[in-house]
Symmetry: C2
Subunit: 502 residues, 2 copies
């Protein structure tokens, strides 16, 4: 005889402290109206300005005193629709080229709706979102050529993914003792007299790798930033030389970081060559593939990523080129044990059981810094399944073709010049009017970027290449077409002329 199903509490009792709607029908009407506003917004992704300063109404609404009393759901929903929905940074718009942000999909929004209702903490225990995350990780391994027995974790993004991988690499170098006794004691025991651990990447590596080294207590200076070649890639010979020099100087090299898609220009290191150097020197090989790794979904770009399957760890984002709504990153680690040893704990109040709610081991909290974890797997799963990997890959390939188109347009445009090769989807260029004083070039282009952004026509960002300020157009939106880039070029030409006329 099973335990009998219990009768629910009386509605009167529930009303005492429940934060649920008192009027469910009214709430339902409000929800459907808000959904229509959301769908109108999504359907109009290409309408209106790409970006505009935060509205005075939103600015005012975000300076309120503490909300002690309740506010009607309809009023909160009105502000969500009228003030919040139009206040994005622009990344859903086909002429947002500012930073490497994904564009989202309407299907991803529906998946988030369901995830919010499920309201799961995916730190552990046995429930649906755990299974969904395992499915997504199995797919991620299959996409990237990692073995099924490797481990993985969905994270907020590649900053966190790199942080997790650096911890695992630290464990591989110093043993689990580093976690318990600290890096100084572990280093002294395992490598008596050594000056410290050292890691290697190209100077084009993303700053979050430096941040992760600092957080780990190893020091960001311990990441050696090696010069890149003309194609903005790390030279394997230089890497090998740096490793040997550090060893000779009393350091303990432990980690090589390759990049698939540098943030500046989209270059991808020769991953196979870096993997070989790392293996020969017994170093951990990590790949930061934040946006570039998913180019593997395009048959045309797949060869560029050869060697990624040989990495010890890999971090990349689903919220960039797979267009899953923010946030959705992923880290894969070849050595599951080393990964687990870097994070696992089993306090009494998190005891795992062979059956019941506390089953489902291993728990994801054993593979990263977080115990509270959102069910971001649901939107990743739904997006990959609804779109299919081939279509996502085709959108990626299209972005790269469009970058070539933009490069050709700018190269042919008097007064504009390209500042870097275009290996993927990023175009770095500047306006160089005849006769401009050399010290005015950078300020001129910086102002040009702001002018364009404030116009609402398109958004590009800036970076620096070999000391020169560059305008940077990153094409990451499945909605972008060639005509959007033609509009960008026309707007740049007009903005440059107006600045010149001052």
């Amino acid at each position: 005889v099973p335990l009998t199903a219990a009768t629910p509490a009386s509605p009167a009792a529930v009303a005492q402290t429940s934060l649920d709607p008192a009027d469910w029908n009214g709430f339902r009407d409000c929800a459907h109206q808000l959904l229509d506003a959301v769908l109108d917004h999504l359907q109009g992704a290409g309408a209106g300005p790409v970006w505009q300063p935060v509205s005075a109404a939103l600015d005012q609404a975000m300076r309120r005193p503490l909300p002690l009393a309740p506010t009607a759901t309809t009023e909160v929903a009105r502000e969500l629709a009228e003030l919040v929905l139009p206040s994005g940074v622009g990344n859903t718009h086909p002429r947002f080229f500012g930073w490497v942000h994904g564009a989202g999909t309407p299907g991803g929004v529906l998946a988030e709706l369901v995830a919010a209702a499920v309201n799961a903490n995916v730190g552990g225990r046995d429930h649906g979102a755990v299974r969904i995350e395992r499915q997504v990780l199995a797919w991620a391994k299959a996409i990237m050529g990692f073995p099924p027995q490797s481990s993985g974790l969905l994270v907020s993004g590649t900053s966190m993914g790199n942080l997790v991988a650096i911890q695992a690499a630290r464990t591989a170098a110093l043993g689990p003792m580093a976690r318990a006794q600290g890096v100084a004691a572990a280093l002294a025991q395992r490598f008596p007299g050594a000056r410290g651990l050292t890691a290697y990447a190209s100077e084009a590596v993303h700053a979050c790798v430096l941040k992760g080294m600092g957080i780990a207590g190893l020091g960001s200076d311990s990441l050696r930033l090696l010069p890149v070649d003309a194609s903005h890639r790390l030279c394997p010979e230089r890497l090998e030389a740096a490793i040997h020099a550090d060893r000779a100087a009393g350091f303990v090299p432990f980690l090589v970081v390759g990049t698939a898609g540098t943030v500046d220009i989209g270059a991808t290191d020769d991953l196979a060559a870096l993997a070989r150097v790392a293996a020969q020197n017994k170093l951990w090989f990590h790949v930061d593939g934040a946006f570039g790794a998913l180019a593997i979904l395009s048959p045309a770009h797949r060869p560029r990523l050869a060697g990624i399957e040989a990495a010890d760890s890999l971090a990349f984002d689903f919220h960039k080129w797979a267009h899953v709504p923010y946030d959705a990153g992923c880290v894969l680690i070849r050595d599951e044990r080393c990964h687990r040893q870097s994070f696992a704990m089993a306090p009494n109040y998190l005891e795992r059981a062979p059956r019941g709610t506390a089953a489902g081991a291993p728990w994801f909290c054993d593979y990263g810094p977080e115990l509270s974890r959102s069910a971001r797997a649901i939107k990743v799963w739904a997006t990959l399944r609804e779109q299919g990997l081939e279509r996502i890959g085709a959108a990626i390939a299209s972005n790269c073709e469009l970058a070539q188109h933009l490069g050709r347009r700018l190269a042919a445009q008097p007064g504009f010049e390209l500042l870097a090769p275009i290996p993927l989807n990023i175009v770095c260029f500047r306006h160089h009017p005849a006769g401009i004083a050399p010290d005015q070039l950078d300020p001129h282009n910086r102002e040009l970027a702001c002018d364009l952004q404030e116009s609402g026509v398109a958004v590009v960002s800036t970076t620096r290449l070999r000391g020169q300020l560059a305008l940077r157009a990153a094409i990451v939106n499945h909605r972008t077409t060639a005509s959007d880039l033609d509009i960008l070029v026309d707007a740049l030409v007009r903005a440059a002329r107006r600045r010149a006329a001052r």
Copy 2:
């Protein structure tokens, strides 16, 4: 003359790679149907089993090969509604007492819908979600008595909040040099000959603080776990003695961690006393207030938290007792400069501008490990505004009263015994049938927890108190009423009888 608004790309061109719906009307119908399924699910939060094993259908659906081709949105939506929605761990149900998970609100779900459509990366730049996060942080400071010029960050949860605070405390102790040169070099320079940094907390501290110490390279062993008194609180005299002993032994004490709401039984340290000891010894005082800090919203419980406003840092969760959907944590840091020095970077591709899209400094990426950050502020803002702090506080107070009710019921129930005081909302107890062999008590209660979970009537978890396995009922749900607890007690009695009859 402003730059003229551009004409949109032709629809035909957009269709080439767009991942948007080909049939918007069909998509809209599907979305409204899914919303109704979500609302039905939310409205029926108290119906059906609290938890059940993952369905065979979901299990099967999560073992698919790589999704190369697209799947119809209606089919994905069907699986979201039929397989995913009912697969939660149970925390939305009024008889989930297993772990300290919030219960969510329908309004929070609507806010997530909007946030997914906005699809913002809140790492930086000037847009709505940044302003909303600043509003939420201003409210958090006002709630907790932190000064307006202190800094803060929304994070995934208190595990991440504690990690951020430990980094800031490390910077306060060793200077920004620790980030660049590593903890070993920084310690050697600032405290020549010292054996290491040490931190202090009660043995009831959450394991994620140990994890954060390990990640920081300081070593989890460097967190001294001090015995608690009869009320499960850290004794200030013991703290002082431990600090002095470590100093005498050549260590550098740097951090005291107080807890507001221990995970085991809900005890809150004497925060004012710990703040005094920390100040007298010039140590950083951090409070882990994961769920307990928000008890400050209840006038009845507010006095227990006296001293929280004196902390150097505080981490707590909105997804627990404020019922914001996962994930939504918060960390506040009194010393903004120290916080920023622990994380800020300004690489070329993240240059901030005085106007345009790259305005909005300071950017949130300068205050934590993440550059990709979700717009979780939107759901926090909407929930606090819709519900109002007074109602949230009333629900918290009700949970604590219900814990007393459950305690009285269990104390009066033959064969059951309480194992700890009930200072807040957690009841630790066990079934102790007459004549049971002492070595059978723990296994008996462990099986009882599983029996109850599998029955679907209620979920409690387990922990260990003074070496004894305890059943643990954490009451964190605004939907829970006294009758839910009566049902729990009846179900426990029945399950215990059935086990005894075997």
